[in-house]
C-alpha cells in the first residue's frame, strides 16, 4: 500500500450552534478542508455520524452531504461506529487512497445534538440495547462502573480523575473553537451535580454540535500542496465486546490497546515517540484508561500521571491540547476527525498558544461506546 | 385427599407508617400512640408499599416461587394457573401468562385472571382446587396478589397495601393441608367498586359494614360450619378477610371465635389490607406455624359482594416441607425500608415526572 497524506483540514466551532443545521455544519467544515487542500479534485467521501436518525430524523447522509457540498456525483458513504464514527471514516478514506483506488478522498464527521432529541437515550444505543440499555444503564453509568473498578484495582483517587477535566479546560482556553472555555478546579468537578456515581457533571463531555473534515491524498497530490506535509504513518483498529459486563477486564480498554499495537507496528513507533496525543475523554476516567492502554503510562498509573501534570502541555506527553472531548466538545460523529485535525494542526506548527514545540509525531485515539470499538491513527510531519 | 401441596407468600420491603399518612392530612390527633407508633381507627401501625418496579404480577411470581419450592414439583406439571387481583397491571391481557412464563409453567396450562375485589385470590383457590378434585389435572396453582390504591386523604389510604400468597393444589400424600369443605355466598351488594379508567376506587362508607362485609362473612361462615358439622371452638385457627383491625375481630366475636384463634393469621396491623392477598396471606402465616391435625377456617370477603369459605386441616406433611422457603414472619421482621409520604406518593404514582 502506498503512503497517504493529509493535505487539508477544516472544522466548525463546537458548541450549541442553534443556527446551524446538520447539513450546514458538515458543509462548512468540508468546504474549508477542500480550500485548505486547494487540490481541485475529489474522488470519494466518508462521513462519520453516530445517530443522525435519532438526533434529527435524518438518514442517508451520503447523498444529503454530497449534494449540499456541491460534490454530486462523488461516491459517499456514512460510517458508523458510535463515538468512533469519525475515526472509522478516516480509516476508510485512508484505505481508499492507500490502495491506489483513489487519489483524493474527504473524510469527516458531523453530529447535530442540540435540536432537543432524547440525547441520553440516543447515546445509550451505543450500548447493548437488550442487555444493558434495557436495564436503565446510561453511558455515564457504564463509565462510572469502570471508574469504580479502576479505583478498586489501582487505588485511583477521585481527585486524580477530576484532574483530567481541569487540564482539558485549561487547554481549551487557548482553543477559540472549543465549546467550553472556562477554567475549573478539582473542587468544582468533585462537587458538581452527580450524574452516575462516582461521576459528576464535570466529569462528562458536553452535548455539542459540530463538524470536521480532512482531505487525504496520494503523494502525487500531496506534493502539489504548499502546506507543511503530514503523512499518515500508521493506523490500527480493533473491536471488543459490546457489553461492558462481557469484557475480560473492566478497568482497561483492550480494544484501544490492540488498535494502538497495530498503529505502532505499522508506523515503527513506540509510545515514547509520540509527542502530542488526542485521546477519547468522553468521561474523565476514559482519558486515564486510554493513556494506560496507549502505553503512555504504566497500567494503573493513569490517575497519578494526570494529577502530576505528566499529560499537561508542559509534561512529557501532552494529551488533549485541543481541550479534549471534555472542553473542546463532543459532537459524537465529528470527534474522531476533530482529534486528527488537532494533531495535524500541531504537526503543521499552527496551534498558536497551545503549540507543542517541535512536535513531529502525533497520535489520535477514537473510541466507541464503552470501548467496544477503537481506532488509533499516528501521523508524522514529513 | 385433596388440598394444598405447596404455599408461599410475599411482602415488599417498603413500609409507610400510618402516622406519616395521618400527618399529611393534619389528622395526627386521631388515635393514640401505642407501642410502636400512632394508630387510628383502623388499628394499623404501618402498611406495605410496593416498590416502583413491583406490581401484582411480580408479587404473584415471588409468592408462587415459594409455593412451587415447598411443593417440590416440576413447574410443567401444573395444569392451571389462576391469578386473582384487583390491580392487574393490564386491563386486557392476563397477568397469568406472564406469571406462567416466569415460573416455567406451560405451555400445556390453563390460565385465567380473576377479579372480585378482595376475594379474587380465594376464587382462584376455589377453582384450582376444583380442577384437581375433578381429576382434570395433577396440580393447579392459585395466587392472590395486589398493589391496591387508596385515594389521597381517603380512609382507604391508611390501609390499602401490597402483598400476595400462592397455593399449589394437588392430591394424595403430598397434601400438607387438606381442604375438607368449601362454600361460597354471593349477592349484588355495591359497597365498593372502581369504574373503568378511574385511578382510585370508590366506596359507600358505613354501608361497607353490616350489609356488606358482615352479611357475607358471617353468612358464609355459618353455612360452612353447618356443612362441616363443626362449631367455632373446634378450630385451631381462623382467618377472615382483614380490611382493617376491627372487622375481623367483630366477625370472630359474632361467630363465637376467640382472638387467640385469630392470632396466627392476623397480619393486618403490620401489613395493611393486601386485598386479594389478605386472607390468603393469613392462611400462609397460619401454615407457617400450624401443627399436624390443626383445623383451620378461612372466610374471605370481596366487595360487590361475596365470600369464599374453606375448612382445612393441616397434615403430617406440613412440618417437613415448610422449611423449603422463607416464612412470612421472617419477611415481616426482616429488612424493611420506611418511606416518607412524598416517597410513598412517588412510588404509588400519585404524581408523575413529565416526559
Amino acid at each position: 500500500m502506498r503512503d497517504v497524506y493529509v493535505i487539508g483540514a477544516g472544522i466548525t466551532p463546537f458548541g450549541e450552534l442553534w443556527n446551524m443545521s446538520l447539513r450546514d455544519l458538515f458543509v462548512a467544515a468540508a468546504k474549508d478542508a477542500m480550500k485548505d487542500a486547494a487540490v481541485g479534485r475529489l474522488d470519494g467521501m466518508y462521513v462519520g455520524s453516530m445517530s443522525p436518525g435519532l438526533f434529527v430524523g435524518q438518514e442517508h447522509l451520503s447523498s444529503l452531504l454530497a449534494d449540499y457540498l456541491g460534490a454530486v456525483p462523488v461516491p459517499c458513504v456514512r460510517v458508523e461506529s458510535a463515538c468512533a464514527s469519525g475515526g472509522g471514516a478516516f480509516r476508510s478514506a485512508f484505505f481508499e487512497v492507500a490502495s491506489g483506488a483513489s487519489e483524493v478522498v474527504l473524510a469527516g464527521g458531523v453530529e447535530k445534538m442540540t435540536d432537543f432529541a432524547d440525547v441520553t437515550g440516543a447515546l445509550a444505543t451505543a450500548s447493548d440495547q437488550e442487555y444493558e440499555g434495557y436495564h436503565g444503564v446510561t453511558f455515564p453509568g457504564l463509565y462510572a462502573m469502570m471508574a469504580r473498578a479502576h479505583m478498586r484495582a489501582y487505588g485511583t483517587a477521585r481527585d486524580e480523575i477530576a484532574a483530567v477535566a481541569v487540564k482539558n479546560h485549561e487547554n481549551a482556553l487557548l482553543n477559540a473553537g472549543a465549546h467550553l472555555r472556562v477554567r475549573i478546579s478539582v473542587e468544582q468537578v468533585m462537587s458538581s451535580p452527580p450524574v452516575a456515581d462516582p461521576l459528576r457533571l464535570l466529569d462528562c463531555a458536553p452535548v455539542s454540535d459540530g463538524a470536521c473534515a480532512l482531505v487525504l491524498a496520494s503523494e502525487a497530490y500531496a506534493k502539489q500542496s504548499k502546506r507543511p506535509l503530514v503523512r499518515v504513518a500508521g493506523i490500527g483498529a480493533a473491536t471488543d465486546t459490546i457489553a461492558l459486563h462481557a469484557r475480560s477486564d473492566l478497568a482497561s480498554l483492550e480494544a484501544v490497546a490492540r488498535a494502538a499495537a497495530k498503529a505502532y507496528a505499522a508506523s515503527s513507533r513506540r509510545p515514547k515517540d509520540v509527542q502530542v496525543a488526542e485521546v477519547h475523554d468522553c468521561f474523565t476516567i476514559a482519558e486515564i484508561m486510554a493513556i494506560e492502554a496507549l502505553g503512555f503510562v504504566g497500567r494503573g498509573r493513569g490517575g497519578p500521571a494526570s494529577k502530576g501534570g505528566e499529560t499537561s502541555r508542559e509534561g512529557p506527553i501532552p494529551v488533549n491540547t485541543s481541550g479534549g472531548l471534555k472542553a473542546k466538545g463532543h459532537p459524537v460523529g465529528a470527534t474522531g476527525a476533530a482529534q486528527i485535525f488537532e494533531i495535524v494542526t500541531q504537526l503543521r506548527g499552527e496551534a498558536g498558544k497551545r503549540q507543542i514545540r517541535g512536535a513531529r509525531v502525533g497520535l489520535a485515539q477514537n473510541m466507541g461506546g464503552s470501548g467496544g470499538s477503537a481506532t488509533v491513527h499516528i501521523l508524522e510531519l514529513v | 385427599m385433596f388440598g394444598i401441596v405447596g404455599y408461599g407468600a410475599y411482602v415488599p420491603r417498603y413500609r409507610i407508617r400510618i402516622s406519616e399518612i395521618a400527618a399529611q392530612w393534619g389528622r395526627e390527633s386521631e388515635g393514640e400512640t401505642q407501642g410502636r407508633g400512632l394508630t387510628n381507627g383502623t388499628g394499623l401501625v404501618e402498611k406495605t408499599v410496593p416498590g416502583m418496579d413491583e406490581d401484582a404480577i411480580t408479587i404473584a411470581v415471588e409468592a408462587a416461587r415459594q409455593a412451587l419450592a415447598r411443593a417440590g414439583i416440576d413447574p410443567r406439571r401444573v395444569g392451571a394457573l389462576y391469578v386473582g387481583s384487583e390491580s392487574h397491571p393490564y386491563a386486557v391481557k392476563p397477568s397469568g401468562t406472564v406469571v406462567a412464563e416466569a415460573l416455567g409453567i406451560g405451555p400445556n396450562v390453563h390460565v385465567a385472571d380473576f377479579e372480585f375485589a378482595c376475594k379474587a385470590g380465594t376464587e382462584a383457590m376455589f377453582c384450582a382446587l376444583s380442577h384437581v378434585k375433578a381429576g382434570e389435572m395433577e396440580f393447579a396453582l392459585a395466587i392472590g396478589a395486589d398493589t391496591s390504591q387508596g385515594a389521597p386523604a381517603d380512609p382507604l389510604e391508611y390501609t390499602a397495601s401490597a402483598g400476595g400468597a400462592a397455593f399449589v393444589f394437588g392430591r394424595g400424600e403430598r397434601v400438607m393441608c387438606e381442604v375438607l369443605h368449601t362454600h361460597t355466598v354471593t349477592s349484588d351488594t355495591p359497597d365498593f367498586w372502581r369504574r373503568e379508567g378511574r385511578k382510585y376506587p370508590s366506596h359507600a362508607g358505613r354501608y361497607t359494614g353490616n350489609p356488606a362485609y358482615f352479611k357475607h362473612v358471617v353468612g358464609c361462615a355459618e353455612a360452612i360450619l353447618e356443612k362441616s358439622g363443626a362449631a367455632a371452638p373446634d378450630f385451631d385457627h381462623v382467618v377472615f378477610h382483614m380490611p382493617n383491625e376491627k372487622f375481623p375481630i367483630v366477625a370472630a366475636k359474632r361467630l363465637g371465635f376467640s382472638t387467640a384463634q385469630l392470632e396466627a393469621g392476623f397480619l393486618v396491623r403490620e401489613i395493611g389490607n393486601t386485598y386479594s392477598g389478605s386472607s390468603p396471606m393469613g392462611l400462609a402465616a397460619v401454615l407457617d406455624r400450624a401443627k399436624a391435625g390443626d383445623r383451620i377456617l378461612l372466610v374471605s370477603y370481596g366487595s360487590g359482594s361475596g365470600s369464599d369459605g374453606f375448612v382445612l386441616r393441616a397434615t403430617d406433611a406440613l412440618e417437613g416441607a415448610r422449611g423449603r422457603a422463607p416464612s412470612l414472619r421472617s419477611q415481616l421482621e426482616g429488612h424493611r425500608i420506611h418511606l416518607s409520604y412524598a416517597e410513598y406518593a412517588k412510588f404509588r404514582g400519585k404524581y408523575d415526572v413529565c416526559g
Partner: protein, 130 residues
C-alpha cells in the same frame, strides 16, 4: 420496546435461559450462534443460577427516558457461578450497603413500559441476598 422484540427475549428476561458451548464449555448469556471463545456453533441449554456476586456498580442520577421516576437507582454488574456476568438494577437497597462481592439474588420486576398505551416490560433485577 415493541411487542415482538420484547417477546423474543422472554426466556432470557424471565427465566435466565442461557447456552453452553459444547466444545469449550463457555456459557453464553444471552444465547448466541457463535461461541465468543472458540467460534464453535454447537450449544446446549443451561439455566443460570439465581444468586451471584456484585462486581461493580453505580447510582444513576440522570436517567434515560422511561426511567426518570426511579432516580436515583443502582445499576451493577453481577457475576454468576456459571462464569457469566450481567448488567442489572440492584433494588430495595441503600447504596451504602453495597460492596465488591456483595451476594445478590435475582427477582422478577417491572422494568418499564413501551409508553402509556404500550406493553409492560418485565425482567431480572437483583436484591441483596439476606
Amino acid at each position: 420496546m415493541p411487542a415482538p422484540r420484547y417477546a423474543r427475549e422472554i426466556p432470557q428476561r424471565y427465566r435466565f435461559e442461557a447456552t453452553r458451548c459444547q466444545n469449550c464449555r463457555k456459557v453464553a448469556f444471552p444465547p448466541r450462534q457463535v461461541c465468543s471463545a472458540c467460534q464453535g456453533e454447537a450449544f446446549e441449554p443451561v439455566v443460570l443460577s439465581d444468586e451471584g456476586a456484585l462486581v461493580t456498580w453505580t447510582v444513576i442520577h440522570v436517567a434515560p427516558k422511561g426511567f426518570a421516576m426511579q432516580t436515583p437507582y443502582v445499576v451493577g454488574i453481577v457475576e454468576l457461578p456459571e462464569g457469566v456476568r450481567v448488567t442489572a438494577q440492584i433494588v430495595d437497597v441503600d447504596p451504602s450497603e453495597l460492596d465488591f462481592g456483595t451476594r445478590v439474588r435475582r427477582v422478577l420486576r417491572k422494568l418499564g413500559e413501551e409508553n402509556e398505551s404500550g406493553i409492560l416490560h418485565y425482567g431480572y433485577k437483583f436484591v441483596i441476598a439476606r
